[in-house]
Subunit: 148 residues, 2 copies
DNA sequence: TATTGTTATACTCTATAACTATA
DNA sequence: TATAGTTATAGAGTATAACAATA
């Protein structure tokens, strides 16, 4: 139990949820980027497509809010997904509102990506003791949801 | 138990550690940015200063690696910390190497920021059941540490 | 007047590659 | 040749503000 020649201390930040989150996030986002790249997706594009597919007719502003962003973040993501034929902006309830819908190609891509995502998830949680994965997901959900 | 007019589903991503991490990270980084701004710090600057202070004489490359980055990420952070008088680049063991040292002002700032960070940490974990905070920190550490 | 979607803009974070000095 | 630090450059993510159309 001493294979590092010289362990680095994180000082103030050691053992905090805050900095642990940052380092875990960095690791996860890189792995996911790599896993998705062959499918022409990035993590935010997948998130937008996944939410749109699960909530047919959702408005851009609501999709952005679900992702934790402001309205203006949606446009470039939707532009890209629409250009790739994965999603459509259709008319919404208002003449000023839009309703988003995954296309057939979008649904197929999501199905194709499902095992990729599952493998990624397994890779990220492989070191966790039994039951810790679910507890972790729950704790993360609590933190994210407390976003006033 | 039904106060949201229409809950948004995350589809594929719902319940995953991967996406939970992303949303929790967004919430935490925003809160921390806000909390640190009055002290002239950003989260990465605090991380670099905290690590440098806890590991006197550490080399820039090792500091960057501890933060999960490549060598080139260190320079701009160190430039800024040095310009603010919080950190010094001194000579290292080699003529090509440097040793980083927090200045007195850097140490004082860290001390001043300690309660700010503790309050931030408390804010982020207030919704978690007893014992979940430590389990969360441990799980995050496991994920981050498995970074090959 | 408020809301929806968009555009413009800027700033931070991050990565890759190339350069210099030293080993 | 390899390593340490830096610089240059580019790209992605995010935020704010302002705009046009509609309500």
């Amino acid at each position: 139990m001493n294979d590092a020649p010289d362990a680095v201390s994180f000082g103030l930040l050691g053992g905090t949820v805050s900095y642990g989150l940052k380092r875990a996030y960095l690791r996860v986002i890189r792995d996911l980027e790599e896993a998705l790249a062959p499918h022409g997706l990035t993590p935010p594009l997948l998130a937008a497509l996944s939410i749109a597919a699960a909530n047919p007719g959702i408005a851009p502003a609501r999709l952005a809010a679900a992702m934790g962003h402001g309205r203006s973040r949606a446009a470039p993501l939707l532009d890209r997904l629409e250009a790739d034929g994965l999603l459509e902006r259709r008319d919404g309830p208002d003449r000023r509102s839009l309703g988003l819908h995954a296309t057939r190609a979008g649904d197929l891509l999501l199905r194709r990506v499902t095992p990729v995502l599952a493998a990624h998830e397994a890779r990220m949680t492989v070191g966790l003791p039994d039951g810790a994965r679910d507890a972790l997901a729950a704790a993360l959900g609590t933190i994210a949801a407390s976003d006033t």
